[in-house]
C-alpha cells in the first residue's frame, strides 16, 4: 500500500485532476525545449572548426533531448499521481512518482486560498488551487482543475475555514 492509501485509511478513491493537464504539461515541455534546442543547433552550426565549442553544443543538445524525452514520458504518470481529498476537517493532497508526498492541511490553519490560471493554462481552460498557511513549506497545490471545479473547491475551503474557527 502506498503512503497515500495508508493516509486515507486504505481508500484509493482520491479525486483526480483533469487529464487535459497532460497536454498542458506536454505543451510546456515543448515550449521550453524547442528554443533551447534551437540555440544549441545555432551554436553547433557556427562553431565549425572550434572543436571544444562544437562538442559542448552537441553534448548539451543530447542532454536537453534526453531530459525532454524523460520528462515527456513521465508526464502521464505524474498527472495520474496527483490526487486530493476534501475531508470533513482538512484537505489532503498527494503527488509524486519517485519522490512521493502527501500533505494534510486542517481548514482552521488556512490563511489564503489562491486560484490561479496563467495564459497557457487558460488556453487549455485549466486552473490551479493553492492553499497557503503561515508556514512556507506547506505546499498544497492542486494543478489541472476545471475553472468551475477550482472555484467550487475555493468556495468549499472558504466556507470550511469560516466554520472551523481560527
Amino acid at each position: 500500500m502506498t503512503i497515500a492509501e495508508l493516509f486515507s485509511a486504505g481508500s484509493t478513491d482520491w479525486l483526480r485532476v483533469n487529464p487535459k493537464l497532460r497536454t498542458y504539461w506536454h505543451t510546456l515541455i515543448a515550449l521550453t525545449t524547442v528554443p533551447l534546442l534551437t540555440v544549441a543547433a545555432i551554436v553547433i552550426a557556427i562553431s565549425e572548426g572550434v572543436p571544444v565549442v562544437r562538442f559542448i553544443g552537441i553534448a548539451s543538445m543530447i542532454a536537453i533531448m534526453i531530459f525532454a524525452i524523460w520528462a515527456w514520458v513521465l508526464v502521464t504518470r505524474r498527472v495520474r499521481s496527483i490526487g486530493y481529498r476534501l475531508e470533513s476537517r482538512e484537505l489532503k493532497v498527494s503527488s509524486g512518482i519517485m519522490f512521493r508526498r502527501v500533505v494534510s492541511v486542517p481548514f482552521a490553519r488556512m490563511q489564503l486560498v489562491e486560484v490561479s490560471a496563467g495564459p497557457l493554462e487558460r488556453a487549455f481552460s485549466l486552473a490551479s488551487v493553492q492553499l497557503h498557511t503561515a508556514s512556507a513549506s506547506t505546499d498544497a497545490t492542486i494543478p489541472g482543475l476545471d475553472p468551475e471545479r477550482a472555484a467550487e473547491i475555493r468556495d468549499a475551503l472558504a466556507s470550511h475555514s469560516a466554520t472551523a474557527g481560527l
Binding site: 503512503i3 495508508l6 519522490f99 508526498r101 500533505v103 494534510s104 508556514s135 506547506t138
Partner: protein, 427 residues
Amino acid sequence: MSDNFSRPQHTAPLTPILQLVNSAPIVLVAFFAIGLSWWFLLIGVIFLVVGGFGYWASWQRRFFWLNEEGELEARSGILFRRSRQLRISRLQSVDILRPPVARLLGYSSLKIEVAGSGDSRVILSYLSVGKAQELRSEILALAKDERTSTQSAEPADHWKWQVPNGRLVASLVLTTSTYFLIIGAVASVAFALVEPGSGLVTLALAVGGSTISLIAGITSLFNFSVGRNDRGIAISHGLFTTAHYTVSPIRIQAICVVQPIAWRPFGWYQVAINVAGADQSSKKSGPRVLIPVVHEDALPELFHELLPSWNLEIEDEWLASAATSRWRFPWQAARLAVSLTSDLFVVRSGALTRRLSAAPHERIQSIRITQGPWERKLGISSLHADSVPGPVRLRGRGLASSVAVHTALAELDRMFTARKSRKSEQW
C-alpha cells in the same frame, strides 16, 4: 499620556552630519582610486557640499508624530512628498538600532513595524538614545492601551539573564569554525602531499573564511541578554549594531534545543526559535536564537522563566526509527525518533549535532509525509510538521511508513482539538 510626540517634529539635528559620516566610505573609495591630489580634494569638497546640503534638506522636510487617530505619521521627501501612517494598534515590534558611528555619539535609530505586507515599517534616524527610548515606551504604551486598555509605565524586566561573553565566544569557536578548520587542514595536508607548497593557500583560505564567519557571529550575538517584562520576552544583543526584540510568548511557534558535538564535554546547549510574524523575506528581521549558549544546569530555570508552558518531558515512549533506516541515515538512525505529548510534537535527531525540536499542536500549520525512492525500498518515510519560517524544522525521518502515517493521523487529531481546548497564554 504625555503629548511629547503629538506635534510634528524632526529627528535629531545632528542627523545630516551622521548620514554624511555614514557615506564617507565613498570618499575613501575615491581616495584609493585617484590618490591624494587636487582632484581628490575637489571631489571631497563637492561631496561635502552637495551631500551635506542634500542630507540637510531631506532632514528639513522629514517629520514624524503620533497623530490623534493613534497612528505614527511620517512625512518625508523633497521632490516627491511621502506620507505614511502606521497603525499603532497593529504594532509588531519597536526596535532600537544602534549603528556604530551614531552609537559613539549617543544616537540611535528606531525601527517601528506593524502587521501588514509591503510598506509596513518606518525607521527613524537618528534620535538621541533617551528620546528613542521615550518614544519606544510611548508607542508600546499606546499599543497596549489599544489592546487591553490598561495604563502601563516603562517596561521593567521582571527577570533577566545574560550570556557571559567569554562563554559565548568559546561556544562559537567550537562550532562553525572548527569544522571548517578541520576540513581546511585535511585538504591542505592532502594538497601538500600531492604538490608541496600548495597547501598553504588552501589553509589560508580555510582559516580566513572561518575567521570572518566567526567574527560576524560573535559581533552579532555579543552582550546577549534575554529577559521577561510585561510585554513578553525581551531579547537584545550585538556589539556594533545592537538589536532589541520584544516577543510575545504566543508568537514563539517552535523551539529547538541544539548541542554541537564539541559542546558535549562542556554540557552546553543552544535554544533556537521560530517566531511568527517575523518578515519572511529577510532572515534578519526576527530573533532566531532565544538562548545562544547555556550550561545544562541552568537550562531548567531558563525554561521555567521563558517557556513555562513548554514541557519537554516525554510522556509516552519515543516512536523510534525503523531498523532499516540505518541504510539511509547511517549515523543518526539510532537517535531519530518522534513523540507526541499532550501539548507538543517532539522530534529527536542528529548524531554529531544533537537536536530536540518541538512545537505545540495548535501551532503546527500542516502535516506532510514524504518518501523518496531509496526510502521506499527500505519501507520508511519522513513525517514533517510544518512551522512558520525560521531555523527550526520538525522532521521525523526514518520512521517505518505505517508508523509515520499513524503518527500523522494522531497528530492531526491533536491539531484539531488543541486550538479549541487550550486557552491562549496570557502574559
